[in-house]
Assembly symmetry: C2
Homo-oligomer: 193 residues x 2
DNA sequence: GTCTATACCTTGATAGAC
DNA sequence: GTCTATCAAGGTATAGAC
């Protein structure tokens, strides 16, 4: 490792990550990835055995991206409530992409539940949701909400997915901002005692 | 018309409707529809010019299904608030499918925004969302909420999409029921003055 | 490790017999 | 109106030269 090979592997994963997000997994062909990277189709099989292996690598990459995002939220704020607010505001930093392509895990998850052949990657995607859910629960615990932690965490995820879906359908940036604002009000209200 | 031909056409649309829902549009081939209906692949082109034409017919069919659902909500209750509650409760009647495949319009919409070649059908899908939104606004108007009607209607759609997504990801029937309950509480709270 | 050539299959779509 | 045979294109995957 540390060779040119692993660099090429990374370029494939990066290109696939972008293409799976913007076009969808099933609508992205090896030719598309080849065009974007300049790496010939046949060469992919030196790094991955199947297309689904590329998908698994992409999902792993997104898991890391979301971990970085959570780290970013932890650094941006000191208290648990502030960190939750930082998380909720995150889609605003990706506004353009969100309005065009939706949520990177939500939309991919919607696509893969319908696919009977990609069960492995489907469970990996649930892992990304679990990563978020556990982090949220962690913050809620610090706020003394350990009893309803699981429920509130799922509620929060549902609210974010919902406004992203509708903002995406109507390409409505104004609604996205207002929706996020409403979630923050709800957070404050729910966690005040 | 009234001939055997239109009956075959209907069988194609019905099968495609089910398959597009359970497998996704891009993952459903003519062979799949052929297998399900017993109608040979080549015969489809007597009824439809392209695959996207089948998609358009399916979206039209779902538009009718949703119109029927709204009619059902109107018949089930006399007042506007009760009718909104009837709408919110509707996913419970399709619980099994919702948990397996998600929302019939939400998931299809997520899939098609990523497709550059299906713009026509995409606008038709927005029409289904608009159908729901306008109906909701209609009920809100009768409740004297005409000013914030557009906002509240989008909020309601977002909340429903959100809980369906999360219930689908975690295959969590309990969360679906509780989420719908919470939406109803929110409705009562928002519309009481 | 890298790249080319290609096999093999499935796709959406067409032509034409009946 | 219905069906069969077939098309060209594009899909994933493989073999093997360099």
């Amino acid at each position: 490792m540390g060779t040119k090979g692993s660099a090429n592997r990374q370029r494939i994963v990066d290109a696939a990550d972008y293409l799976f997000y913007s076009r969808g997994y099933n609508q992205t062909s090896f030719s598309d990835i080849s065009d974007k990277t300049g790496i010939p189709r046949g060469n992919f099989y030196y790094y991955f055995k199947t297309k689904e292996d590329i998908l698994a690598a992409v999902v792993d990459a997104r898991l890391i991206e979301f971990k970085d995002m959570l780290k970013c939220c932890e650094n941006a704020a000191s208290g648990p409530l502030e960190r939750l607010h930082a998380l909720v505001q995150f889609p605003l930093q990706r506004e353009t992409q969100i309005l065009q392509y939706g949520c990177p895990i939500g939309s991919l998850s919607s696509e893969l539940v319908k696919d009977q052949d990609t069960e492995i990657s489907q469970t990996r995607l649930t892992a990304v949701f679990d990563l978020l859910k556990n982090w949220i629960e962690e913050q809620l615990n610090k706020l003394g909400q350990s009893a309803r932690g699981d429920d509130i965490a799922k509620d929060l995820l549902a609210k974010m997915q919902g406004i992203i879906i509708i903002a995406n359908v109507y390409r409505d940036a104004e609604f996205l901002r207002r929706g996020i604002n409403d979630i923050q009000s709800w957070l404050n209200q729910t966690l005040s005692h």
